[in-house]
Amino acid sequence: MAKIKYIELDGKEHEIEVSNGLTVMEGAIKNKIPGIDADCGGACACATCHVYVADEWINKLPKKDDSEEDMLDFAFEVKESSRLSCQITVSDELDGLIVKMPEKQF
C-alpha cells in the first residue's frame, strides 16, 4: 500500500491510498481522478496516461523500459520527469509518490 498524491493541472490535489500491485494509472482511474485517460487500458499502447513525477522521485522509480520510452514519443510536452502511469506498479516503496497531470493527454 502506498499513499500517492495526484495533482491536477489547476493544482487540485488528490491523496489516495493505492494497493500494491495496481499501477499508478489504475489508482487514478478507480478513483475517477481527472487528467488521466488511459485509452488502451494499460497495454502501453496509447500514451494517454502521461504524468510528470515529482523531481525527487525521478530516480527512485523503477526505470522505464524501451516500450514505455518509445510510447512517450506520442505524448505531448515530454520532460525528463515524464512517465506513463500504467507502467509504474505500486509497492510500499512508492509511499509518498507525487505525480502531476500534463496540460493535455495527446
Binding site: D39, C40, G41, A45, C46, T48, E69, D70, L72, D73, F74, F76, E77, V78, K79, E80, E103, K104, F106
Partner: protein, 341 residues
C-alpha cells in the same frame, strides 16, 4: 451520389469481432458489408500488435495478432463479404425501422441491422493540442500524404521518430527542396534500415536532423510559415517552412458515434446481454466498444457477443421466417453455405 447498397447487416469495424460477426451472420444466411477507417483489415490486431503473441483465444494456445486475423479471413472467405476500407460511417438515420448510413466518401447503405464492432473507436492521427496546429490543418499542416508529388521543391519540417516519419523523410528527400526532421530524443522507433538511410542523408547534408526538441507552436498568415520548437531546457527556436508533416502515430477516438443518440458509459456503448442490442433497435455493439456489467475486453467475449447479436439480426432481417438453431457439425444447410458440402 452513388447508388444505395442494401444489406442484411452493416458492420462497423474490421477487427477480429467484426470478422467473426460476418461468419455468424453468414451461417444464418445473412449477408453483410464491413466498413473500417483503417487501410487494412484487422483493427487493433493488425495496427497495434500484428507481431505480439496472444495466448487466450480458445483452442489456439498461441497466435499473433496478424495470424488470428488471417485465420478469421479464411473462415469467412465463403461469404465473399465486401470490405469498405479507408471509410468511416459519419451519419446514421432511421426511416421506418430501416437504418440509412453514409460513409466519409458518401457511400450510402440501407440495412435493418448495424453491428458496431469498432474497438475503442476509429484510428485518427494524434494531433498536438496546440491551437494554431488545428488552425493550419490543411493549410500547410498534414498528418498523412495522399500525393507525395505535392511536396516537390517544398521546404518541409517533419515531426516524429517512428516508421512514418522516417519513411517519408527518406522518400521526400528525393523531391523536396529542404527537409528538417525533428524528434524528441536521439533514438528512433523505426526499422533499423530506414534509420541508417536517414542518417546517411543527414551526413550528406540532404536532411537536417534536430533531436531533443519538440513542437511548441506554429505560426503564419493564411498558411503556416514556420514552426517553433523547444529543447529540453525550454529554449525556443523558429524554423521557416512551406509544409509541416506531423507523424505522432494514431489514436483511437469514438468520433461520430458520440452523436448517434446511443447510451454511453464513458467511451463504451451500453448494450443488453441477451442480444447485445443498444438503446436503438437494430443497432448492436460488440467487442471492446460494448459495455454491460461484468464486461471484459477480451477477443473471446466479442466472439460470443457477435454470435448472439446475429440471432436477433436474423429476426429483424427476415421477419417472416423462423430461425432454427443448427450446429455447423451436423447441419447440411450450413455446410452448403460454407462450401464444404
Amino acid at each position: 451520389m452513388s447508388e444505395t447498397i442494401k444489406t442484411d447487416c452493416l458492420i462497423i469495424g474490421g477487427g477480429p469481432v467484426g470478422l467473426f460477426a460476418v461468419f455468424e451472420l453468414g451461417i444464418l444466411g445473412l449477408d453483410s458489408h464491413v466498413v473500417d477507417n483503417l487501410d487494412k483489415i484487422g483493427g487493433q490486431c493488425a495496427e497495434l500488435y500484428p507481431d505480439k503473441p496472444i495466448y487466450d483465444i480458445p483452442a489456439l494456445p498461441e497466435c499473433t495478432g496478424l495470424s488470428l486475423i488471417e485465420n478469421l479471413q479464411k473462415q469467412i472467405k465463403p461469404f465473399n463479404t465486401p470490405f469498405h476500407l479507408n471509410e468511416r460511417i459519419n451519419e446514421i438515420s432511421n426511416h421506418e425501422n430501416v437504418w440509412k448510413l453514409k460513409t466519409s466518401s458518401n457511400k450510402v447503405f440501407e440495412t435493418p441491422n448495424i453491428f458496431i464492432a469498432g474497438g475503442v473507436g476509429s484510428f485518427e492521427p494524434r494531433k498536438p493540442p496546440i491551437e494554431n496546429v488545428s488552425k493550419y490543418e490543411n493549410k500547410g499542416i498534414q498528418y498523412s500524404i495522399p500525393d507525395k508529388n505535392y511536396y516537390s521543391n517544398k521546404k518541409i519540417i517533419i515531426f516524429g521518430g517512428g516508421d512514418s516519419a522516417l519513411d517519408w523523410t527518406v522518400e521526400l528527400s528525393k523531391i523536396a527542396s529542404h527537409i528538417t526532421l525533428v524528434h524528441r530524443r536521439d533514438e528512433f522507433k523505426a526499422a533499423n534500415h530506414t534509420v541508417s538511410l536517414m542518417k546517411k542523408l543527414v551526413k550528406e547534408g540532404k536532411v537536417d536532423l534536430i533531436t531533443k526538441n519538440q513542437i511548441s507552436d506554429v505560426q503564419g498568415s493564411d498558411r503556416v510559415e514556420r514552426a517553433i520548437i523547444k529543447d529540453n531546457d525550454g529554449n525556443e527556436k523558429s524554423l521557416d517552412c512551406d509544409e509541416i508533416l506531423i507523424f505522432y502515430g494514431l489514436k483511437m477516438e469514438l468520433g461520430p458515434i458520440n452523436d448517434w443518440g446511443l447510451n454511453l458509459n464513458a467511451k463504451q456503448i451500453e448494450v443488453n446481454t441477451e442480444n447485445f442490442e443498444t438503446n436503438l433497435a437494430g443497432v448492436f455493439a460488440m467487442g471492446d466498444i460494448s459495455y454491460y456489467p461484468g464486461k471484459l475486453k477480451l477477443i473471446l467475449s466479442g466472439f460470443h457477443e457477435a454470435a448472439l447479436a446475429a440471432q436477433k439480426a436474423f429476426v429483424r432481417a427476415r421477419p417472416d421466417e423462423t430461425l432454427t438453431f443448427r450446429y455447423t457439425t451436423s447441419s447440411s444447410d450450413i455446410q452448403k453455405k460454407l462450401g464444404v458440402k
